[in-house]
Each structure stands twice: as C-alpha cells, then as structure tokens.
C-alpha cells in the first residue's frame, strides 16, 4: 500500500476501521483519507486532525456500522500481544526483585551482625514471611499464566477461570496472614519495639491483597459467565448439527 503524504491520527483511524462494516470500509476509508488530505493541504495539520476526528465521529451511525457481527475487539489484538509480553516481563522482574529483597534484607538488619547465617534465616518470623511469600509467588506465576492465555485468545476457558480463582485464594491467604502477623506484633511486641512502621507496611500490603482478591473474584465471575455462554453455544451448535 502506498503511503499518503498526510497521515491521520492512527488511533482514530483504528476506531473507524473497528466500527465500520467490512463491506463498505474500503471506499469510506478512502474518502476519509482523501478529505483529510485535502483539508490538511488547505488548512494546517492540527486542524485537519480535529476535522478527521469529527468526520469519524459523524460516521459512527447505524447505517455505517451495519449488523454489528464484525464488532469484536480485534482493534486491541496487536497491542494486546505486545503488552501481554511486556506485562509478563514486568511480573518476572517483580518476582526477581522480591526474591532478592527477601534474601538480602535479613543480612543487612542490625541484629544480623552478631549471628551466623543459619541463625539469621531461622528466625521464626522470617520463616513465617518466607512461607507467606510462597502464596505471593504462586499468585505471580498464575498471573503470568493468565497473560499467556490472553495472548493465545484463550481468555474464556476453564483454565483461565482456574487461574484467576487461584490468584484470588492466594490474595486472600496473603491478606489474612499479613493481618495475623500485624496483630501478633501489635499485641505481643507492643512494648519492646516500636511497631508503627511494620504495622503501616502490614496495612498497605493487606489493602493491596484485598484489592487483588476482589479484582480476581470479579474477573473469575466474568470469565465463568463467558465460559458458560461459550459452552452453551457449542452445545447448541452440536445439537443443530445432529
């Protein structure tokens, strides 16, 4: 395809391509680009972009959209592929960073100065923290898996429902355990140390876990509904074939 001299805003053009019925897309897109070109030539480019947006919005009407069978979310599919990989990389990096902090942090603590390696890591509270982190890493792994399903267009599958469910459980477990740790420190170690900082961290992490758990629960519900509809459709199609 030859590239025109003036190029309209991509996102607006993508929006047009998304809603316009495929049967009439070519000629209208051509008209749009030609009008944009003429306008950009006569006025300045910035005004032309606004003009283009106006035209695309005015085209958003039933006769142009047609029967809506083509209205899927393909617009985002290319973007989706890149962004899922990016998010997966980010999640892996978060995991590595968390692991590094967990291993390094006890060594830099003040009380580590007089202890050998085994005693540093054998502290019951640290062990508790490490056990908890299993839930965190499982959730992280599941999130990476879920992104993989999104990339393969398998969002509405039982696997992804299971994945979101386990993320939800991990977040709940994490939240409850952190609250328990916070309460333990608040009640039994109130006097000998100032627990304010620790409690603040507890509150923030608990809040994050609650948010994650809620989001995961909502997604689980949506995905489950999607899968149910899909299964029903498949059954209907199967019946009609018989």
């Amino acid at each position: 395809m030859e590239r025109p001299e003036y190029i309209p805003p991509r996102i607006i053009l993508a929006f047009f391509r998304w809603y316009c019925h495929p049967d009439i897309r070519e000629e209208i897109e051509g008209d749009l680009l030609e009008r944009f070109h003429n306008y950009a030539k006569q006025n300045n480019k910035r005004l032309a972009k606004w003009f283009f947006l106006k035209e695309v919005v005015q085209l958003f009407r039933p006769s142009i959209i047609g029967n809506m069978h083509h209205l899927t979310f393909k617009l985002f599919s290319d973007m989706q592929k890149k962004s899922t990989v990016f998010l997966q990389v980010v999640l892996v990096l978060i995991g590595i960073a968390a692991l590094a902090v967990m291993i390094r942090f006890p060594l830099t603590e003040g009380r580590a100065a007089n202890l050998d390696l085994f005693r540093i890591y054998a502290d019951p509270f640290l062990v508790y923290g490490y056990l908890l982190s299993i839930a965190f890493f499982v959730a992280l792994y599941q999130a990476i898996k879920l992104l993989g399903y999104i990339r393969q267009n398998k969002v509405f599958s039982l696997n992804s429902v299971r994945t979101t469910r386990s993320i939800k459980y991990c977040a709940i477990v994490l939240g409850i355990s952190i609250v328990m740790a916070g309460l333990y420190i608040r009640i039994f170690h109130n006097k000998d140390d100032d627990p304010a900082g620790f409690l603040a961290i507890c509150m923030v992490t608990t809040f994050i876990s609650i948010v994650v758990a809620t989001t995961a629960a909502v997604f689980e519900k949506i995905l489950q509904n999607g899968v149910d509809i899909k299964l029903e459709n498949e059954q209907l199609i199967g019946q009609s074939k018989k």
């Binding site: 000629e27 035209e55 047609g66």
Partner: protein, 116 residues
Amino acid sequence: MLISQTMSQYHLGEFEEIVLLTVAILNGEAYGVSIISEIEDRLERNVSLGAIQTVLKRLEYKELVKSAFGEATKVRGGKRKRFYEITSRGQQLLNKVKEQRTSLWNAIPKAVLKLS
C-alpha cells in the same frame, strides 16, 4: 443491504434528492468526496461524509443508483473509490419529482407569490 426493508422504496427525502441530482450532474465521476464538494459548491451548505455515505447506501438499496469500484490513489491510502451512477429507475423518479414540484409551483396563485 444495510438499510432496513421497511423503508419506503419510492419516497425521496430532500437530502436524498439533492444527492441523487448531484450523482446525475457528476455523470460517472460521482464518488463520496466529489459529491460532497459539488454539493458544498452549489448549495453552500456543509455536508458530512457520514450523511453522504448513509444516503448513498440508501439510494443504492432503493436501486436509484448503482455503484462500482474505481481506481485507488495515493492520497486515499491505496483505497479504491466507489463510483455511483444513476439508474433508469432513479432518472424516472427524478423526473417524477420534478413534475410534481412544477405542478405545485404552477398551482400557487399569482397573488401569493407577489406578496413575498
């Protein structure tokens, strides 16, 4: 087609009439952009691409115009033009509309027109 079946086949709206006339004026050179600029030049009114395309599809559904793909140009990003041409049915309807208008004009008493 995309337009609903219930729509009247014979009635011609004001804008439909203008577009149909313009298609006839342009004589084989009528496609979205050229129709818009022709209407804007002759009638001094702003026309959006959305309005034109909707009306063109409707006219085609009513079989008053027919269309075919034309050439693609660089400014169109390699997309082909769709040229519209008036059908015999469209010509008949235009004639009919013109006759109706003329008879309406002729029916106005002379005194009424003098007043304005």
